[in-house]
Symmetry: C2
Subunit: 456 residues, 2 copies
């Protein structure tokens, strides 16, 4: 029985009116997913989707049941991965860009993992939730604020949770700092920084040739035409990759749970990096040499929070630079700085106002989830430092237990909305732009949902 | 003959109408300061002022001619320093807060060095310029935008230059980076960061007892009542110490000389640091324990420049933290980060997108002024890493040659105005606030004035 049919049968009548719909659904639907293995579908199995698939194949009690990708090569590669892992070959979809809807309709899935390009992630998640299927999706900026509202409303109407696969939230250091914050080492938090500093000029201009053609929704991949991020860099100007940075910070600050983003200002520099790279690296007649990139090279966004903290975000992928996440957390009692892997805790660090290595805190403050994971034997096999495995395990456990996910639609809406909100601020000369309250007031009483246990 | 009298004698008629009044004055006044030794006065010789005095005493061809301080102890200490250096004891002033005007009126000075608290620096400089005396003053925020205009107009009316003693502009690394920028290593500049990260809680709450009473203009210093910055932290909320950070950055970006600050947004966090420190360190009945500090703990300011660059500034003195200047410069061809003393230059650094130590560039790119200074024998004796000596030498040389100073009133106005402009933005919920063009259009054609030679 599909969860959608179960819901529509009236057994969870009144769910849309409930303050915590998913918890309500959970109580009533637990028995429903007691089959031997969870059935997961995948939509979008390019490079990133297949990375997630490899991790999902190591989850116990999970079957990869069907896969959709409009690129036949991607689909076959993914099906082969499943076969090689000893599971039955999953049914394939992908004859056109609406095939994912067909898959959601026809297959009896418990959850779907969406590794598709930015602009498809939220619409596909919404479609999955409407089909009664838990939706996990990759990270990116929202296309619009409305899209974020749609995601939230679909959750509240269907009771089907969504989860953003923000793997940076599961980083070992980030979870340890979360643990230190919750144990009070930093005192009252005041100020945070984060960002995405990752030089991507060649990929933004030329792509790697494995994704769909960025200039069209309908055609197959073409080498040498950029990847899907190219179009966004050509036509948009904002923080287009906010969630790696702001996700962990939002959890540090209890955003949507006693705190919220109030407003932001955003400032873009001129755009030079991609054009300069193209001039220096492409022949004069190359079709992608003279694109007029709208996206400023560096976008800086300042978020003001209800509880009086500020968050400074930097989006920086179009200039040469060493990689960085730019994390900084500063409270009344201490400060952490990730680039130098350093921390200072007043009254505990050995020298007044001098950094000490963060690793001095591992023994005492390693997050229980990571402590558990590192002793499991699984940790040596997972990609992305284990974070992909951990986030997918959390997703699968949420389905199995019928609960909300630990990075839910309210988190997703707030974090992804930074994309269009920063564009609005930049378009108006850095004018402050307010955040919608996607919880419609529930942030005042909502409780923490992330990093609460050693399990997920 | 005092410069003021010289000017009013009509020998430089038309000076106010000239595009470059100081250059005009220079030509006509050279002979006027050919006496054996330059005569410098000092106003404000607390801790900082005496530090400057010690450096000035090592300048060749300079006599410390008179000193003003309302604290008798400061005045006597300063006079003793001059005497110990083998110069005649300078005449002392300081019976009340207007004594500096009396000194400027009565003494035949060539220049005056102002080490007084923030709010006196610009008014005293204006008074000096009106008295025909070159004015060098310490750093701080403007009290108002109008004060900045007044400084500029006084210069344009009198032809007497002023100089802000922004010693961070003379830092060895900053001047080397300036040299690297001008030689094109970073490509076209895109983005800069800077800040003042310096934990000052005890000094802001209690002071060191050597400055004037912060709560009054007229009384003598009282121990245990904060220093002069306390009042600003109690009543203002903005970036109150912008120039150490933004000075070198403005020179990197040619601000006021082909470029200018267009507008800023500024965001303050809640204020917790000073109150928490007071609660934990002062007895319950201490008169300074329950001050309601208005100044947010962290103020972040984003400046947009005419040429499309952004500058991110942080003002951070009220929370525990290791010291930092937060400098970062990013261009189309490279990036410098001061906290890690690291640089990456594309096509030159050995590993793609990996930091290398900045010191790898010293041999080739040390600024000529520093190369010259390090070989002079003076460098082992100067305070603040030599920067105080270098800035005072530049000031004295400007007087001697009758030229504009290398950090002039237009620089001073733009840099110090960040104080009140950031307050305005914060007061309006981070609304963008435009910078006045203190040059009235001259920025379009003005030429560089700083770091041009090995001499000053």
């Amino acid at each position: 029985m599909k969860r959608r049919d179960f819901l529509s049968s009236g057994m969870v009548a009144g769910i849309a009116a409930g303050a915590v719909p998913s918890a309500f659904a959970m109580e009533n639907s637990k028995s429903e997913i007691s089959r031997e293995k969870l059935r997961l579908g995948f939509i979008g199995v390019g490079g990133r989707g297949r990375g997630l698939l490899r991790n999902a194949l190591r989850l116990s009690g999970v079957q990869i049941y069907s896969i959709c990708d409009i690129a036949e090569e991607n689909l076959q590669n993914a099906q082969n991965l499943v076969k090689e892992a000893g599971q039955p070959v999953p049914k394939g979809y992908g004859k056109d860009k609406d095939s994912y809807k067909e898959m959601l309709e026809k297959e009896d899935l418990d959850g779907v993992v969406i590794g598709a390009p930015w602009k498809w992630q939220v619409p596909m998640a919404i479609a999955a939730m409407k089909a009664g299927v838990y939706a996990a999706h990759e990270v990116g900026p929202a296309s619009s604020v409305d899209e974020c509202w749609e995601l939230v409303k679909t959750y509240e109407e269907t009771g089907i949770p969504g989860m953003m696969l923000e793997n940076y939230c599961y980083h070992k250091e980030n979870m340890m700092v979360l643990n230190m914050i919750r144990q009070g080492l930093f005192g009252e938090l005041i100020h945070c920084k984060c960002g995405y500093g990752h030089e991507l000029r060649e990929r933004l201009v030329l792509g790697k040739g494995t994704g769909p053609n960025p200039m069209s929704d309908s055609t197959k991949p073409v080498k040498g035409e950029g990847d899907y991020r190219s179009v966004h860099n050509q036509f948009r100007n904002g923080d287009l990759y906010p969630t790696h940075g702001v996700g962990p910070i939002a959890q540090f600050l209890d955003i949507q749970r006693g705190n919220r983003f109030l407003y932001l200002t955003s400032t873009a520099t001129k755009a030079r990096g991609l054009s300069k790279w193209s001039e220096e690296n492409l022949p004069a007649d190359h079709p992608r040499r003279n694109i007029r990139w709208r996206q400023g090279d560096i976008v800086t966004t300042t978020i003001s929070c209800y509880n009086g903290e500020s968050i400074i975000m930097t989006f920086d992928t179009r200039l040469p630079r060493p990689r960085t996440d730019m994390y900084l957390v500063q409270g009344t009692n201490g400060i952490w700085e990730n680039d130098q892997k350093s921390v200072y805790i007043e009254g505990r660090s050995p020298k007044k106002n001098k950094w000490e290595p963060l690793k001095n805190y591992v023994q005492e403050f390693e997050h229980p989830l990571w402590r558990n994971y590192l002793s499991s034997g699984e940790s040596s096999k997972s990609g992305h430092g284990g974070t992909d495995y951990l986030e997918l395990r959390a997703f699968a456990e949420s389905i199995r237990q019928g609960t909300n996910t630990p990075i839910d639609v309210y988190d997703t809406a707030a974090w992804r909305s930074i994309g269009p909100l920063s564009e609005a601020s930049i378009a108006m000369g850095s004018h402050p732009v307010e955040f919608p309250d996607f919880t419609n007031g529930k942030w005042m009483t909502n409780k923490r949902i992330f990093g609460l246990t050693e399990k997920y």
